[in-house]
Subunit: 450 residues, 2 copies
């Protein structure tokens, strides 16, 4: 069902038909439909939207709610009665509730907390206290665990009774004196002897993360070991939560987007592009722009020193952009390859000299090809063998140097515990620009006897 | 257990102890240990490694095998007897088997196919025929499905009997006359009435992908709907396979690395950084370098036209790098934000004018700040109000123009069904360089009356 069909049914008050149509749709798609209706010209108000929300099957409604924008969530919460709000909250997983609360203004937060029962409120407050981007901040406390001397039939009974309100029951956790000692899959329980103790059939090779571990490390671990859920433990190795694959996928998508932003020299932002105000956009960009603008003047000072040479042979200036651009491109290629390699765990910081050796070989071949093409081009257009020689020699030095610098910077950043992607193309091009300009005019002064 | 401890135990032939230690380790970590031993100075040969592999618990061995590098997989396959090879293959999921086969030389492939039973061989051959990066190429054919008139107890019996050899049983598929009509989770089966028909309790709101859909679309769909497995159907809507969350995570990691490479103007590569030869590295980089070098000469031609002005005021050259760099940086910031927004589905191509409006506002503020700082700096260092005015005016035009171009290029690419990341920083900087140079000398000529 598209927005036009939905709008028409709302207009004609055909809610029974609408209900049937909605039943065939995925929660994320229903959320998108609601958002489109909310943003459309026809201006469906909170009354229409909350009406639409109310005809959703109860178990779908909470799911749909998690997929909505913060704006629309606010609108709906305001339209809900206390009992409706409680109903939605009851069906939400704890980690989703916390995600929603984090984005809400104080008055909405207090309404949500009041609607939750005391135990849930306590858990929400605990989760809210974990540092941003930590495992604790994205985990849910809704998981199933057994004691190691529980029997298989006791475990199955427990799953049947609590299963539907837990985020996943397909991997359960086994504890001994509250410590995490193993994992067991629902399938293993299903095929096991009913009288067996779970401690004797559990899987003892498992990984866990600490509540304060970084969410990016958690997502890498989950991807590395193909885990549907990662258990989270505290200092005493007691299991306090789990992080499920859907949150891992969200972290992966966010981190990948953040890397793109960093490579473009933009400070990371919390909200989506349109939700972020113009001023916040300016703030996240102007810092790098100023730093890079000021540092680019270094190249200016260098050219200043060679003013006499430029006045004598103004043609030299014509090749400056090509030289600095090619240097910058070579550098960012190497940087991208190293950043990519480190992200995929193919390159570790110990590989420094292996990488440098490889980049040296690659850069020499690239330099030779580029210099040959360039020499030919200058000879054809300008018939000036001296200029062609100066430019081609500079090109060779620039290509080799920038590839080595481009490959080194991300590894250096990693060693200094900085994000490799921050040592990005722009910073690189500033360094490469001044170096290549210096080399260019030095070679020109010597060879052209200026 | 680290490599040193393992090497010592192998040296002392303490295999019982080694076996106990290995039992506590995750398959991916065992694979890393094997790889480190294989690559270490002490040169553990195929004999030691295949010995180590043989003492692994049978169900772990196949898992470990999937995590190994192609090189080491080849070494082990060569060391295996026919029956050992068959044992490992029996425990591998079909999609993993196909991944391995795709990287092997012909003689190894024929050994693997011979070792597989006829039904498996047929399925492998089918999977091998799907186009690269299609849903069919990453799916597995090992899934559990029921007919819609099967009862819950029939379904549970089926899961118990075939569960352990299927990649996941936690979501099962319901068919009617071989068409996919619904899904049902193991948990729902577990809590349902045993005599109920599965067709009456199945979930009819589900998504599926076509065998020829792109793997990136599949991974986005799985992440969007938080799916642990995505069913794959053929033209007739018959279910032919499933793609599980672990493969989705792999695709996400690969695509994110590919985006970084593209933003760095490197053509994507199949193998890891060190496995790729110097020549292949050169080939994946030299194309863009040549294109960008040649196009950068456009800026050269523009400066050529202003040779007289440069000879008259050589100081003008000093500000060229700062102007072109700042333009490039502004452009790549906007490009990064738009690429990121499109990757997260926050920006669609229909938002073109909304984006342009927002970028215009952002760029005007950034331009004002940068121009003010720059004007002050030039006045302090050079005490030349005319030059300061020319440079600052150019800066304003450049910043605004490059932000608009930077935001437009990725959206244009998307509209032309190209990858937005390819319209990357390097291509952008070439365009911005020539534009800013042209603006600079035009303004300078007018204002300085050159």
């Amino acid at each position: 069902m598209d927005i036009r069909a939905a709008a028409e049914m709302i207009g004609k008050r055909e809610f029974a038909l609408l209900k049937t149509e909605l039943r065939e749709m995925m929660p994320a798609d229903i959320a998108e439909l609601l958002t489109e209706l909310y943003r459309s010209e026809e201006n469906f108000g909170e009354k229409d939207l909350s009406l639409l929300f109310r005809i959703l099957p109860k178990d779908t409604a909470a799911d749909v709610f998690t997929f909505l924008d913060t704006d629309l969530q606010k609108v709906l919460i305001n339209a809900f009665s206390e009992s409706e709000l409680r109903e939605v909250l009851d069906d939400l997983f704890l980690d989703d509730t916390v995600d929603i609360i984090e984005e809400m203004p104080a008055n909405v937060v207090s309404r949500i907390l009041k609607a939750a029962d005391p135990q849930k409120r306590r858990q929400i407050n605990e989760l809210l206290n974990y540092p941003e981007d930590s495992a604790g901040s994205i985990m849910t406390t809704e998981f199933v665990y057994f004691k190691d001397d529980d029997t298989v039939s006791e475990c199955m009974a427990r799953i049947r009774s609590v299963g539907l309100v837990k985020e996943t029951v397909y991997t359960c956790y086994v504890t001994r004196r509250r410590r995490l000692v193993g994992t067991i899959s629902l399938l293993d329980l299903l095929v096991a002897d009913k009288t067996e103790q779970v401690g004797s059939i559990m899987d003892t090779s498992f990984v866990s993360v600490h509540v304060h571990d970084d969410q990016e490390d958690v997502s890498r671990l989950a991807a590395r070991h193909d885990l549907a859920a990662v258990p989270v433990v505290d200092d005493e190795n007691r299991i306090v939560g789990i992080i499920t694959f859907d949150d891992v996928m969200d972290v992966m998508a966010d981190e990948s987007a953040e890397d793109i932003a960093k490579m473009g020299a933009v400070a990371p932002q919390e909200d989506s592009y349109f939700e972020t105000s113009v001023w916040s956009h300016v703030k996240s960009r102007i810092g790098w722009l100023l730093v890079l603008m000021i540092s680019a003047t270094l190249t200016g000072f260098i050219t200043n020193r060679f003013e006499a040479q430029i006045a004598a042979v103004p043609l030299l200036v014509a090749f400056m952009p090509m030289l600095t651009d090619t240097g910058g491109n070579c550098g960012s290629q190497s940087a991208a390859m190293v950043i990519q390699g480190m992200a995929l765990d193919e390159i570790v910081t110990g590989d420094f000299f292996k990488v440098i050796k490889k980049e040296l070989a690659i850069s020499l071949i690239c330099a030779a090809i580029l210099a040959a093409v360039n020499f030919t081009r200058i000879m054809l257009f300008y018939h000036n063998i001296m200029i062609a020689t100066v430019v081609s020699l500079t090109l060779i030095c620039t290509v080799v140097l920038s590839k080595l610098i481009g490959a080194s910077l991300p590894m250096l950043a990693k060693r200094l515990k900085q994000d490799p992607a921050v040592m990005s193309a722009p910073l690189l091009s500033t360094v490469v620009d001044s170096l290549s300009t210096l080399i260019y005019f030095t070679i020109a002064t010597r060879l052209l006897r200026l």
